[in-house]
């Protein structure tokens, strides 16, 4: 796209080194710190000194933190599944059905990203308290669907939009009912979109701090994000080795999912959001 003259070459190499360092160094430093023995934590050695897995072993054998990890898995899988179902139904409805109020509901869903989460929490906290759900997985499962609703519905709508109406019509003529058309004809064609939304929902729930910190007051039900904050913040002396090791452990599931399903994720996310 650009002419590779001297000016561009200078710009290219300077930016590559500066931004490259900024982008890649911190994570390497995190791994580097996590692998150091406690006595070496404060040294500036960059992967040169002695290495140990002690920090990881300490975190992985901590029953409390492993409990948080389990809770995170339950909540993230659950809300991801719920979000995918809800968004698929809604996206299909928006794409292939015409009814009164459709445009209005579409607009509202789109707006839902823009409602300030912290203010919603005030009332959600009260509602969950009244329903007796405060501190249960359900309070998080239900709340997390909202993160995915706008992007999820839109992404899946754009998938369903691409399915020709003729295909649905011919299924109808063959005598299929609405449910059969949906499960046998339409949904299988949108699987890539659904995978994208499932990942998106999982990552959001896994990474959320605000809701899990507020809605789950019971230590046994905390998810990893709020659990680690409670564990490490406000401690008199901080063990950075433990903190870096636990951060890596918290980052691994979402990173693995991402590495394997990167293609789906980037395509789905950008195409869904850009096409609207």
């Amino acid at each position: 796209m650009f002419q590779k003259n001297t000016g561009f070459r200078v710009f290219f190499w300077v930016s590559l080194i500066l931004i490259g360092t900024f982008v890649f160094f911190p994570l390497l430093w995190m791994i580097n710190t996590a692998l150091k023995p406690t006595a070496e934590t404060f040294s500036l050695d960059f992967f040169t000194g002695p290495k140990t897995f002690d920090n990881f072993i300490h975190i992985l054998t901590d029953a409390k933190i492993m409990g948080y990890l389990k809770n995170s898995l339950i909540v993230s899988f659950g809300s991801s599944l719920m979000a995918t179902v809800v968004c698929s139904l809604a996206g299909y409805s928006f794409a292939k059905f015409r009814y009164k109020g459709r445009k209005f509901v579409m607009g509202m869903f789109m707006m839902s990203q823009a409602f300030p989460q912290a203010i919603l929490l005030l009332s959600i906290y009260g509602i969950m308290q009244k329903l007796g759900l405060l501190g249960s997985y359900w309070s998080l499962l239900i709340s997390y669907v909202v993160f995915t609703l706008p992007v999820g519905t839109w992404t899946l709508k754009s998938y369903f939009d691409q399915i020709p109406d003729a295909l649905i019509e011919s299924a109808k003529i063959d005598g299929a009912n609405h449910f059969q058309i949906m499960t046998k004809v339409v949904f299988p064609l949108a699987v890539p979109g659904m995978v994208t939304i499932a990942i998106y929902g999982f990552v959001w729930s896994w990474n959320d701090l605000l809701y899990s910190m507020t809605l789950v007051t019971d230590n046994a039900r905390r998810t990893l994000a709020s659990g680690l904050v409670m564990t490490f913040l406000g401690m008199g002396s901080t063990n950075w080795g433990y903190m870096m090791a636990s951060s890596i452990i918290a980052a691994i599931p979402v990173t693995i999912i991402f590495v394997f399903l990167q293609r789906y994720f980037i395509q789905g996310l950008t195409s869904g959001a850009v096409k609207g």
Binding site: Q3, S93, I248
Partner: protein, 294 residues
């Protein structure tokens, strides 16, 4: 006859039935709580006392009289603007570099995105460590270069917010990069070739052709970025808990602290309502952009 019976519901009825689960969640977790929060903003509700009553605009008066409120707004504005523009600019440059398609650029793109996908608390912990006043690597490097190397970057009011913005930049750069790479791939090569024949240099090609043809996507991601930053909670909280001396207290932290630390629901709802009005302004731009690009 048979066909009619097997279909059961009409198309419109089916469409509405499909939307019901989404609508139910939307009403339960967004619409009702939102309206309820606006109602609470007119009350003196507190989690510490069971009784409450309507106090009209008293909370609003209190918020506007609060000398800290202006400071919170300013902190929010600096965080939102810095945390949007910085990753946007760096993400744009990074996208341009990776778009050159050199060996390994695909891999670099993939690794870059890891920064964005990992939990905010991990990012907060990491940057707290880098900026640590005694043993952080930043101070370590500065010391090795002959500096004092004992600056409490997160512990002093002059630099704390900047540190949070830098961490936010690191987190969001990949997100901008992903969208801008997509945009760059849509720029017409013919147009650039034509301009080059007319004697346009790289900079001119960039400002006259590349940026204008990516206008929609640029406005879209900037609007999304601003809304996202107005909502953002994790980094200022994990890195500094809003301190020191409120230097990193943005609106979302202020609402959280007022509600769940001081248990003053009325005042928290009031700040939240003012905040919602701000968000609505940005969202209108965003929605309009989405509609235009449809």
């Amino acid at each position: 006859m048979r066909e009619k019976r097997s279909r059961g519901l009409t198309d419109a009825q089916t469409g509405i039935l499909l939307i019901l689960p989404g609508l139910a969640v939307f009403i339960a977790v967004i619409l009702f709580p939102f309206i309820d929060a606006i109602r609470i903003s007119f009350t003196d509700k507190s989690m510490l006392f069971p009784d409450w009553e309507y106090v009209a605009l008293e909370n609003y008066m209190e918020v506007f009289r609060d000398p800290y409120f202006g400071k919170t707004m300013l902190t929010t504005a600096v965080f939102v603007l810095g945390g949007t523009l910085l990753p946007f600019i760096l993400g744009f440059i990074w996208a341009i570099l990776l778009n050159q398609g050199f060996k390994g650029s695909e891999l670099l793109r993939g690794i870059t995105l890891v920064n964005w996908i990992i939990p905010g608390i991990a990012i907060g912990f990491l940057w707290s460590w880098i900026f640590n006043g005694q043993y952080g690597v930043l101070n370590g490097v500065l010391k090795a270069l002959g500096g004092e190397g004992n600056t409490p970057w997160l512990g002093q009011t002059s630099t704390a917010l900047l540190c949070v913005i830098i961490a936010r930049t690191w987190q969001m750069l990949p997100w901008y990069m992903a969208f801008l790479l997509g945009g760059l791939q849509g720029v017409s090569v013919e147009q650039i070739e034509a301009a080059r024949i007319d004697g346009a240099g790289n900079w001119k090609c960039f400002t006259r052709i590349v940026v204008p043809s990516m206008k929609n996507i640029i406005i879209l991601i900037l609007a999304m970025g601003l809304v996202g930053n107005l909502q953002h909670f994790d980094l200022p909280w994990t890195m500094a808990q809003g301190g020191p001396a409120r230097a990193t207290t943005t609106l979302s932290l202020e609402v959280y602290n007022t509600a769940f630390k001081n248990w003053d629901m009325g005042k928290a709802a009031t700040i939240g309502t003012i905040w919602a009005i701000l968000l609505a302004c940005f969202s209108i731009v965003y929605l309009k952009q989405v509609r235009d690009s449809d």
